[in-house]
Symmetry: C2
Subunit: 272 residues, 2 copies
Amino acid sequence: MSAVPATLINGQPQSFWSVHDRGLQYGDGLFETLSCVGGRLRWFERHMARLSLGCERLGMRAPDIALMRSEAHSLLGAEPRALIKIILTRGVATARGYRPAGDEQPTRIVSAYDWPAQRYPEFRLGLTSVPLGLNPQLAGLKHLNRLEQVLAQRDALARGCQEVLMRSSAGEVVSGSMCNLFVCQDEGWLTAPLTQCGVAGVMRALVLEAAPRLGITVRIAAVSEHDVESAGGLFVTNVRLGLQPVHWYQGRPLAVDERGARVQELIDGTLE
Amino acid sequence: MSAVPATLINGQPQSFWSVHDRGLQYGDGLFETLSCVGGRLRWFERHMARLSLGCERLGMRAPDIALMRSEAHSLLGAEPRALIKIILTRGVATARGYRPAGDEQPTRIVSAYDWPAQRYPEFRLGLTSVPLGLNPQLAGLKHLNRLEQVLAQRDALARGCQEVLMRSSAGEVVSGSMCNLFVCQDEGWLTAPLTQCGVAGVMRALVLEAAPRLGITVRIAAVSEHDVESAGGLFVTNVRLGLQPVHWYQGRPLAVDERGARVQELIDGTLE
């Protein structure tokens, strides 16, 4: 980062906070990363729906969405693109130990980041042995326990890849460390269900809605390593990358399914 | 907590730190909770061995152990007992995203807590459906991703229990949310291996060493729900509770295996 990102903590411009916050102590919280284009927070409601679901599942107070929207807007400058990251924790611990006391006040951290300069003329995807642990209560959420992803990204670096696919501890291919996965097959596209692990990505949901409008069938079903190896093409998705075509998977060059660009165009063109 | 615990961050008396630390952003770090008696940090070397193993596994710089010892000592007052918690994170993020840049400076947070006043004349143990995800690279470590334990403790509260047993996603009984488990059987004691999940507790290791000296055989092997249900007695262990006898498991009163007190005495009597 060129500098510390502009940050508001509970509405105040500051970037320091109590280390006794349960967000640091236990990873007891959630986050969202939003793509901002021309001063607009894209797909804001979808991000907030996931955040709200997370609060419900973790037994945290429902967030003040209007407040987060105005705080995020206040951090956006004149740059055409930016990223906003919102962290919501259960709050500063009021008692010692894992058990929440119930009287914690949630901590709201909103930061604005420069849009990353990276472009990927060749997007290289590997396969890591770091597994995703199974937990239906946490599956789909974007929570602050992300060590699996950190380990996977360390592995990606060692393999000279931008991203690595991760398998559940049951052996199914679920997603990348920071992206969801779409596998292009003759009969349509395939993406993993996220009922046991993984993050239910906003871009994944957008692709699931847009692709059928262009005549592309998308199946949500278990993805095997064989499915990935025999794919006609692969896309990884998140709100920053959109539908990122994979050019190289585990040493094998991959063709780019040209329908991806049309799906992307359709998604970019929506007013949401 | 009666007040904010006395805290040193990288040696400075303060309790606020950058929210851009990877400890908060991703749970990218480790911790240890030490029992302090009469100004002594009990089993310090064992805690540091686990912390060092964690640093190695996560690819973090090895910690300065002498420094942590002196910082912990400096926080100890005249109270006969206290708890010291040491958090070590990968440091403040120097780039956005899960991938460590490699130039982070680890953050060292040392806090002193009053010894908890709780006593458990009846220690009630339940069984939660919150699973422990499998990950051999993280198994055994005390890392900052503790949402499973937070969810388990919420469940314990709902069940009116101090603690709940957790099963791996493969169905084996592994440990409590904050304790390891020993199952008392006719032929000896039984505790779970921690190669796929769970925390390799310091008190567990001490019991494993002390019990055989009193003629108690301890087997490390997969623990089933049936093993727990048919146990002659149960102990949960951590450095705060020692060998805590379980008086009630899922509605059933349990006898206390009197050998526990002798093992405890042997452990308390060591000079370590």
